[in-house]
C-alpha cells in the first residue's frame, strides 16, 4: 500500500506532479470551452426563438446533429477534418503546405459545439419562461432591443437556466477526458502514461476517477452557491415568509 502511495509522490520517482499537471490541463480545457459553448448556445437559442424560418431551421439542425453524434466522433471530425480543411486551404497559397491543428484548440472547438448544442435547449426553455410582458414593459420604457435583453430578459433567464447549465458543465467536465484520445496531456492521458511505466492500471485509474469525482463535488458546491445567489430576489410559497 505504501509503495503505491509513493508512486503518487511529487518528484522524479513519483507521478504526483505529472498527474497534477494533467488535472490542471483538464480544468483549463473545461474552463476555456465554457464561455464559447455557452455564448454559442445562447446564440443558437435566440435563433430558434427568432421570426426567421431559415434561422430556426439552421439552429434546429445544429442541435440535432451535435446532440446526436457521439462526442468522440465530433472530436475526430473536428480534429482530422480541420487538419485537412486547413491544409487544403494552405495548399492554394503554398504548394504542398500542411497545417497541424493544435490539439487543444480542436478539443475546445469540438467540446464547445457539443456544449452549445445541449445548452441551447436549456437557454431556449429559460427564454420561454420569461413572460412576454417583461419585453413589452422594457420596450414601453424605451429600452433598445439589446438593452431590453441585457437588463431585463437575461437576468431572469439566467435564474431559470442555471440548474440546467450546471448539468451541462458537469457533463462537459467528464467529456474532457475524451480529448486524451487525440494526444492532449490531460488528466486521463497522464494517467495512461503513468500506467504504461508502472504497470499499476487499477490504482492509477482509480486515482484519476477520484480526481474527476473531486472536481464534480467542488463544482456542485460552487454551483449551489451560484443558484442561491441567482435566486436571492425570489420568494417561494411555503417555508419562512
Amino acid at each position: 500500500m505504501l509503495d503505491l502511495l509513493r508512486l503518487l509522490s511529487f518528484g522524479p520517482d513519483g507521478w504526483g506532479d505529472e498527474i497534477a499537471r494533467g488535472a490542471l490541463l483538464t480544468v483549463e480545457l473545461a474552463l476555456t470551452t465554457l464561455p464559447f459553448g455557452f455564448a454559442l448556445g445562447l446564440a443558437v437559442a435566440l435563433a430558434k426563438d427568432s421570426q426567421s424560418r431559415a434561422l430556426r431551421a439552421a439552429a434546429d439542425t445544429f442541435t440535432t446533429v451535435f446532440r446526436g453524434l457521439p462526442e468522440l466522433l465530433t472530436l475526430f471530425i473536428v480534429y482530422y477534418g480541420g487538419q485537412m480543411l486547413f491544409s487544403r486551404v494552405a495548399g492554394y497559397f503554398v504548394e504542398g503546405a500542411t497545417i497541424e491543428v493544435n490539439q487543444f484548440l480542436a478539443g475546445v472547438a469540438a467540446l464547445g459545439l457539443v456544449l452549445a448544442a445541449f445548452s441551447s435547449e436549456v437557454f431556449l426553455a429559460a427564454l420561454r419562461a420569461v413572460p412576454g410582458g417583461q419585453k413589452e414593459a422594457a420596450a414601453a420604457l424605451g429600452l433598445s432591443r439589446f438593452n431590453a435583453f441585457r437588463l431585463v430578459v437575461f437576468p431572469q433567464l439566467w435564474r431559470v437556466a442555471l440548474p440546467g447549465l450546471s448539468n451541462n458543465w458537469m457533463v462537459l467536465m467528464k467529456d474532457t477526458s475524451l480529448v486524451s484520445v487525440i494526444a492532449i496531456n490531460d488528466l486521463m492521458r497522464q494517467t495512461a502514461i503513468a500506467v504504461g511505466v508502472t504497470k499499476q492500471p487499477f490504482f492509477f485509474y482509480l486515482v484519476a476517477c477520484l480526481i474527476y469525482l473531486l472536481f464534480s463535488i467542488a463544482s456542485s458546491l460552487v454551483l449551489t452557491k451560484a443558484e442561491q445567489r441567482a435566486n436571492r430576489g425570489l420568494k417561494r410559497a411555503g417555508g419562512k415568509a
Partner: protein, 250 residues
C-alpha cells in the same frame, strides 16, 4: 438465386451512392464492415441498457426503502458512476482486470474479462444502472404519498404496492428520461472503440487509418444520427401509447 439478388441490390446501392457523390470504391471495401460495426454497437447498447435496467431496480428501492447502510451504498455507487467519465471507468475495468489476472483466473472469471467487448458491456452496464437508478428513484419519489397509503388501506403487501401501484407509475414518469439514457448510451458506446472493440466507431477509425478519407467519418455520423433518430421516434410512439391516459389533460 438469393445471393445473386443480394449482389445486384448491393451493386445498385453502390451505384446510387456514387451517383450522390460518395466514394463507392471505399464503400465497396468497408461497407460490410460498417454493418458489422453497427451490429456490435447495437449489442453493446442493448445488453448494457437491458442488464442495467434490471440492476437499477434494486438500487433504486434500496435508496428509498433501505436502512442506513443500503441507502449509502446505493448513493455512493450512483455518485461514483455518475461523477466520473465513462472513459476512465472503462480503462479502470479493462486495464485494471488485466492486473488481477491471477486472482480472476482462480475464481474462473478471467475468460470474461479477457475480452474487450465483455469489459465494455460490464462497464457500460454499471454506468447506465447508476443513471437509471436515479431516474427510477425520481419517478417513485415524485408520486404522492397517498398512493402508498391507498395501497396499505386496501391491505396490499409492500411488494404488491410496488408492483401494482408505484412502479407502473414511476416508469411512466421516467419513460422520457429513460429514452434519453438509451440515446446517451448509443453515443457513449463509441468509447468502446478506444479499448479495441470494433463497434461502429472502431470500424470507422480502422477505415480512416487505412484510407485517410474523411468521408468514412461522415458515414459514421449519418449512421449514428439515424440510430438516435429511430430511438427518438420509437420513444415518441411509446410515450403516446403508454401515457395515453394523460393525453386528454394536456
Amino acid at each position: 438465386m438469393i445471393m445473386s439478388l443480394l449482389a445486384q441490390a448491393g451493386d445498385g446501392f453502390l451505384w446510387l451512392m456514387s451517383a450522390i457523390g460518395l466514394n463507392a470504391d471505399l464503400m465497396d471495401r468497408y461497407g460490410l464492415r460498417f454493418l458489422g460495426g453497427i451490429w456490435v454497437t447495437l449489442q453493446l447498447v442493448f445488453l448494457s441498457v437491458g442488464i442495467g435496467a434490471v440492476l437499477s431496480l434494486p438500487l433504486a428501492i434500496a435508496r428509498i426503502e433501505g436502512g442506513k447502510v443500503a441507502r449509502s451504498v446505493s448513493f455512493g455507487y450512483s455518485y461514483f458512476f455518475r461523477g466520473t467519465p465513462l472513459l476512465a471507468q472503462t480503462f479502470l475495468i479493462y486495464y485494471g482486470a488485466g492486473q488481477f489476472r491471477q486472482p480472476l483466473t482462480d475464481i474462473g472469471l478471467w475468460w470474461f474479462f479477457r475480452d474487450a467487448f465483455n469489459c465494455a458491456v460490464f462497464t457500460f452496464t454499471l454506468n447506465t444502472a447508476a443513471y437509471q437508478c436515479e431516474i427510477l428513484r425520481g419517478g417513485i419519489q415524485s408520486l404522492p404519498v397517498g398512493q402508498t397509503e391507498g395501497g396499505k388501506a386496501m391491505g396490499l403487501t409492500r411488494y404488491q404496492i410496488y408492483r401494482t401501484i408505484l412502479l407502473p407509475q414511476a416508469y411512466a414518469v421516467g419513460l422520457r428520461p429513460l429514452g434519453n439514457e438509451l440515446i446517451l448510451m448509443i453515443k457513449s458506446s463509441a468509447i468502446a472503440s478506444v479499448v479495441t472493440v470494433y463497434d461502429l466507431m472502431g470500424v470507422t477509425r480502422l477505415a480512416f487509418s487505412r484510407s485517410y478519407d474523411m468521408e468514412v467519418y461522415l458515414w459514421a455520423a449519418a449512421l449514428y444520427l439515424l440510430m438516435v433518430e429511430i430511438v427518438r421516434r420509437v420513444w415518441n410512439v411509446l410515450e403516446r401509447r403508454l401515457n395515453r391516459h394523460q393525453l386528454l389533460s394536456r
